[in-house]
């Protein structure tokens, strides 16, 4: 998400209370997994009252750093100091006891317990030897209300969306009276309103003298809310500096080690071909209660060469819409046509019609992590003759798909689990390129991947669109939606509420997504790119300022 558009930029100044010892300090910490040196002589000190950014590309060592601070990993060399005292954590419980609380990126909630049981897991209020359930729910409800998190204390975690789980995760970390809160990509699945909210919470923590170690790929956020930034690259410390003294460009350069294209979202020549029928046409997609949320009467058309962005808050129905198009939502009614030909509601019919679906959670839905990348790449096509898999043909398909997704061929034989997030995403995209898609649906295509890989994915999507593909991209990352899409559809509470051209401001989209005017679903239904409603004046503040990432 972009910078905190309407917040006052706090004076970053010197980090926190310099006179107090750091809440946590790593000195010359090294850690290897097998032959991989994940960390090599890293120094890091997080002071009370500081919001400290930890940045680096995937594989730079951020996760290992967090693991050591959280007591999950033990360093091979170097010292960990807690408030100036050298400490060796025996496990996560020891780190927790030392006042360290972690919001993990890969979520750590137990699915069969409810929200309250998760938030207070292993710290349950007790009465004698028994659980005090009444107090558990009372405390939890109060805590959630204080943070204004719209999730019920008794809701089973299994039924929550990814974003809701993320909010619960944050609530869990904040329910401990921790002096250091580590946040690993906390905004990865949050929409802008929720992010704004989180930033306010972080600001409160800072004001209360807590320390926050903030890990994110979103440099705009880093620049907006942190006061100190530490850059890691290849397991080594590159530099620690006051955030005020750095820039987006410098951070990228330090992370990547090379000058990256200055503009993350370069303008794209319009290649939309409206001469024929739409490549993808959806009519009246409705589902009363899908796996995640309901949608109602959504219609849209996407022409060859066009990228349509889907924006909306959590639960607005973006994922449900994509799943409905592909035919994996039971009970949905919809009419889907590809190039004017009706597509039956089943994933196999969708694939046969040339619809690829890059799913939201690559680890859960997108990849068989323990299979090779080659196996994943051919999983959509599986060339066979008389029921026998044709290995040579499979390899050829995988190599072609890998090339198109700019995945190095040498990793084809490796298990998908071993890849970085960015490369895993390339495999997911690649396996759909293998079917020769005419339509590509992408749900959060760059979630949790580093800035370089993200730009590559964007370039890839643009290239595919230029080759005549119709692309629908749902994303919580609003600058991404606005920067990549030719046209933006805004969903709210399962309805299509606005249709906007790609270049509009974030404020315009957010106004439609959160506040919303009249439902515009009818007029926007078959629109070919005309703007509908909403000029952005509904939002107060200096929201017109472009995100620091530029477009």
């Amino acid at each position: 998400m972009g910078p905190a558009t309407d917040r006052e930029p706090h004076a970053p100044g010197p980090p926190g209370h310099l006179d107090e010892p750091p809440v946590i300090e790593l000195r010359g910490v090294a850690k290897a997994f097998g032959i991989v040196r994940a960390l090599d002589g890293v120094d890091l000190a997080v002071r009370p009252g500081s919001v400290h950014a930890l940045v680096g590309e995937n594989g730079a060592g951020k996760s290992t750093c967090i693991g050591i601070i959280a007591g999950v990993h033990r360093p091979d060399a170097g010292t960990v100091l807690v408030r100036g005292t050298p400490t060796r954590f025996a496990g996560p419980a020891a780190a927790e006891a030392a006042g360290i609380s972690v919001v993990y990126q890969e979520q750590s909630l137990v699915p069969d317990l409810d929200v309250a049981q998760n938030i207070y897991l292993h710290r349950e209020p007790r009465r004698g030897p028994f659980l005090d359930t009444r107090r558990l729910y009372r405390d939890c409800t109060a805590h959630l209300e204080r943070l204004a998190i719209p999730v019920a204390a008794r809701a089973p975690v299994r039924g929550l969306s990814v974003a809701e789980r993320q909010l619960v995760e944050i609530a869990k970390a904040l329910s401990r009276d921790a002096s250091l809160i580590v946040m690993d990509e906390p905004t990865a699945s949050l929409t802008s309103v929720e992010q704004e909210h989180l930033f306010r919470v972080i600001e409160d923590l800072r004001a209360a003298g807590r320390a926050v170690l903030y890990v994110s790929h979103r440099l705009d956020e880093i620049l907006a809310i942190t006061d100190t930034a530490t850059v890691l690259k290849d397991g080594r410390l590159v530099r620690t500096m006051p955030t005020a003294a750095t820039s987006h460009q410098e951070l990228v350069t330090l992370m990547v080690g090379r000058e990256l294209v200055a503009d993350l979202y370069p303008p794209r020549p319009a290649s939309i071909d409206r001469s024929g029928p739409p490549r993808l046409s959806v009519r009246d997609a409705t589902i009363a209660a899908g796996g995640q949320s309901a949608i109602e009467d959504i219609s849209l058309d996407v022409w060859p060469g066009e990228i349509v962005g889907l924006a909306g808050l959590i639960g607005s129905g973006r994922t449900t819409l994509l799943r409905t198009i592909v035919g994996v939502e039971p009970g949905a009614t919809r009419g889907v046509q590809v190039d004017g030909v009706e597509v039956d509601p089943s994933p196999s019919a969708a694939i046969a019609a040339g619809i690829g679906f890059v799913t939201e959670d690559r680890k859960l839905e997108g990849l068989a992590l323990d299979l090779t990348n080659l196996a994943n790449l051919v999983s959509t096509t599986l060339p066979a003759r008389r029921g026998v898999y044709q290995a040579a043909a499979g390899r050829a398909i995988a190599e072609t798909a890998a090339d198109r997704a700019s995945l190095p061929r040498r990793v084809l034989g490796a298990r998908s689990r071993t890849l970085s997030g960015g490369n895993q995403q390339r495999v997911v995209v690649g396996k759909w390129l293998a079917i020769g898609p005419r339509v590509l649906l992408c749900d959060e295509p760059t979630r949790g991947i580093d800035v370089g890989a993200k730009a590559d994915i964007h370039a890839l999507l643009r290239g595919l669109a230029e080759s005549g593909m119709a692309i629908v991209m749902a994303s919580s990352d609003l600058p991404e939606v606005l920067g990549v899409a030719d046209r933006v559809l805004v969903l709210r509470e399962g309805r299509l509420v606005a249709e906007l051209p790609g270049g509009v401001t974030e404020a315009t989209v957010m106004a439609a997504a959160a506040v919303g005017g009249d439902t515009l679903g009818d007029s926007g239904a078959a629109g070919a790119g005309g703007t509908a409603g909403n000029d952005g004046t509904m939002t107060a503040g200096d929201a017109d300022e472009p995100p620091m990432g530029g477009r």
Binding site: P92, H122, P150, S293, G315
Partner: protein, 326 residues
């Protein structure tokens, strides 16, 4: 944008009510009701006090071992050794007592000791040696079977009358074994639903990795579940010994599967994490009543084995399908 996020949370059931979840939880009670009604209406001699008494007595043995199995399955494990442990306890108890009531207390302690040792061994195999519980407890089954046959290869000993009261006595109008089952079930329910340990049993089974991140000592929880399971199996073995009255070497055969059937039919997920003893108890009554009906209808008792085999696959398939859709 000064307002807090008013994002709608997709689900209308903010209270966390989930229809499918309730079906999975309550289905066994509905089935129990249906079977009772069918039995009362259609099966001769079913709705008699004598039959109710018999059903409760018969349910006790399976019930107690199934309570223990519930703990292990909730952690995501499985214990195939419970049946053979019950067999060992039966053979040792009746073999050693030989009708001498003075030996009752030592025998009870010996049985509990057997349960403790077996449980610790199973648990260590799973958490320390990191061997799949299926293999660990199958190996334990073989070990226990070996021990039985080293001790004797024929039916031995006898139970003193005082000891047989454990299976055939009554306290007031209630059969002693049913009272024992009821008491143990209440204790198990309180442990699982109302204590931190019970909460951690669920957490470990639902996601061991996440439970560990929350600081839960997952190995200790798993180990404890196997110990609880084996100790309860040993108690079930004592009731079985009292019921049979002699040390029959094949006494415990089949209880490993029927206890798992009871747990699964009772709504506890084989993958762990959700379920509990209330469902298990209902399933035990259901299975016992079905067996009694087969008996009253003159069908071979071994048909129950056939039913068990079919039921476990069907039950798991139904619950899996529900979970997939949910």
């Amino acid at each position: 944008m000064t307002s807090v996020p008013a994002s709608p949370t997709a689900r209308p059931g903010l209270s966390g009510f989930d229809l499918r979840e309730q079906v999975a939880r309550l289905g066994v009670w509905v089935a129990l009701g249906v079977v009772l009604v069918v039995g009362i209406v259609a099966v001769p001699n079913f709705a008699t006090a004598a039959n109710a008494d018999a059903i409760l007595r018969q349910a006790a043995v399976l019930g107690i071992v199934a309570l223990g199995q519930t703990f292990v399955v909730l952690t995501g494990g499985i214990d195939l050794s419970v049946g053979m442990l019950m067999g060992l306890v039966t053979v040792l108890a009746n073999g050693i007592m030989g009708g001498d009531p003075a030996l009752i207390l030592p025998i009870v302690l010996l049985a509990l000791g057997c349960g403790l040792v077996t449980g610790v061994a199973n648990g260590l195999g799973v958490v320390a040696a990191r061997v799949d519980p299926l293999i660990v407890t199958l190996a334990m089954l073989s070990v226990l079977q070996g021990v039985i046959f080293i001790y004797t290869d024929r039916t031995v000993g006898s139970a003193p009358a005082e000891f047989r009261d454990l299976a055939y006595g009554s306290i007031g109008p209630i059969p002693t074994p049913a009272l024992l089952l009821g008491g143990l079930a209440v204790v198990c329910w309180v442990i699982l639903a109302r204590t931190p340990f019970g909460r951690y049993v669920h957490a470990v089974g639902s996601s061991a990795q996440d439970a560990r991140k929350a600081g839960i000592p997952i190995d200790r929880i798993r180990l404890a579940a196997y110990v609880v399971c084996s100790v309860l199996a040993a108690i079930a073995g004592l009731v079985l010994a009292a019921r049979l009255g002699s040390g029959f070497t094949g006494a415990g055969a089949g209880f490993e599967l029927s206890s798992i059937v009871a747990v699964v039919v009772g709504g506890t997920a084989l993958s762990g994490g959700r379920g509990g003893v209330a469902g298990t108890l209902a399933a035990v009554l259901l299975l016992t009543i079905l067996a009694t009906m087969l008996n009253l209808l003159g069908i071979s008792p071994f048909a129950q084995r056939v039913v068990n085999g079919v039921v476990i696959v069907v039950a798991v398939a139904v619950y899996t399908a529900q979970r997939r859709e949910a």
